[in-house]
Amino acid sequence: MDTRDTSRRTFLKALSGAAVAAATPLRALTAMAATAAPNDGEFFVFIHAAGGWDVTLWADPRNEKKGLVAPASTENTDTSQVRHWKDAPLDGATRTFEPIRAPRGGQVFGPGIGDLLDMADRLTVVNGLSMNTVSHPDGTAFSATGRHLVGGRAPASSIDTMVANELGREQTFPAVSVQYPSSYVGDDLDRRCVPLVVGSIGTISRTLSRSGIYDSEDDREAVTALLGKEARSLAARSEYPDVMQGMALQYDSLRRMLGSRLQEVFSADGLKKAHPEFKYAARFHGASCVNAAFAVEAMKRNVVRCVSFACGGFDTHASNYRFQAQTQQEMFDMIAALLRTLDATPHPTRASAKLSDHTHILVVSDFCRTPQVNIGGGRDHYPNNSALVVSPRFRGGQVFGKSDPEQLLPLKAKRFSDGERAIAPPDLLATFLAGFGVNARKYMRDGEPVPELLKS
């Protein structure tokens, strides 16, 4: 046999092998996409715990001094309002907390978990998320988009935009974003899915309210219809018609929004009356409860696909760390109240289904806080993280991933196609998309789905 032929054949074999290996994540994604359940009628809530939460108080509990880890204690935490805090010995008179095993689900949590403890069988916790950053803007963007900032800007769309673009184009509000780090980046996105970014839900109501003293609803409707026609005419004459076509679609959306009289329902007062089950007077997240109530009401009326909002108060560098556990407890109480409300609310389009059967919640943060307590009595930024998923498409009652017992840094979680490593935000986001049959490669450069997190 000719040696030159042999080497060429060997080279081609190696090349095809490499190609197969390189394509594996993509093929895995495609296969998962093909087997995913139908996704119409699904709703999404994305919550960002802004500031960086202390994972040792809920998802990755630590109550022993080990290595760098100095656990929360009665010296640095106001325990009086933390319902699940049970004293455990630490140093002399100083007490720490007793980790709690969830009665349903079996996971172990810290005392910040609040009312979600009773729903642990529905929770999927991801620990040891490798953040590779301790910057607020960068960690925030990385958690929401799977990419680090480039030149101070998010180089990819956020998860709410991705989901809205896949599943929400026809909704009146594909994505509503209240102080959530939403971004809209890419050429192939539908302009209806630009997140409606507002400072508060009340803005939506005020924006949609109209006075009838001078003109009528029909007059405004005629003007908007004309503008849609003008935008289409300009698009037809344009070398680059995308923006004008997008404007035409947004004029159509406005007509639908005003036609369904949402402004009456979506005022803060209207939402509080309609959903008294949320604790609007809560110290840290009372305002976020209005966002949760909006999410329920908008999903019930089938006018939204994604609602995203931020809950602040987690950036506890100094003595404000005393309230970190309470801040977590209030947020998780709100999520528990949201779940209970969704349980009691029928799905708007699926007969005999509850809204909670088709609502998917993803809670992330910028990063976590240092295992050691600083001289100001607080904790600083640390490149580890945890995330929470509450979704009927995810396996509930499990904790995936782990962190180092002494340094709280992410540990290898599994063998990915690029080797054994810790799970990172792009993997979590890719898994979330794969759960709904969405090919993550369409939106994300990185990330590989983790089938262990999804129901088969």
Partner: protein, 239 residues
Amino acid sequence: MRSLVRARSLVLGLVLGPVLGCDRPPEVVKPGAPSTLSPSHGVVLEDTTPKQDVRLLPAEAYMRSYLQLFGGLAPVDVQARARGADGAQLFDTWDDYLSALGFPDYRNDLPRGTQTNAIMVATFERLGVALCDRALEHDWKAKPAPPPLKERVVFAFDEPAAPADAKAFAPRFDVLHRTFLGYPAELAPPDRVKNFFELYQGVAKRHAAPGVKSRFSPDEAGWAAVCYGLVRHPEFQFY
């Protein structure tokens, strides 16, 4: 030997000289008819086709346009004028709409909005309606008499005595078109004047129906609707 070579050279010179043309008369080049231009002298037209899609004006730019168009007022004065004191609830405060208009909101850490969305489009409507209604009140309904043309902010033309026909509509529409979009209406796509005239007629007819309550006469309502359409026009917000 040397003399033999010299003699052979002389003979060769005598024989080949006339053959090679040494004694030919000088060539004369006569000017002929000009030929067509060579390709390098052809006219190359400048390529003026747009190389990128239109972009949304920065929020500050269209806000400045609003302020300028509605009387050159400060933001707080425009807010006061749009809100009015008559309980019309046409507008709230700028603060309520900052993020919806695309302004960065540093208190809430919201970035600048560089793309329109349905809420932004709704805000343009809310704001545009308020500004047009107040401008029409100022220009045409001021008491005891409307201001002279040069002091009017938007409707710088006489209100037609009767509902305008197409002939009366066109020059007045042109005034508004130049005001908001910055160029004559006749240069716009061909159907624009016709479309806005139909809008004007439809609104005026609706307001003329019995039982309709409005602070505007049918004709005023028609012109106000034309103003709403131009102040919210895509050409007003994109460049």
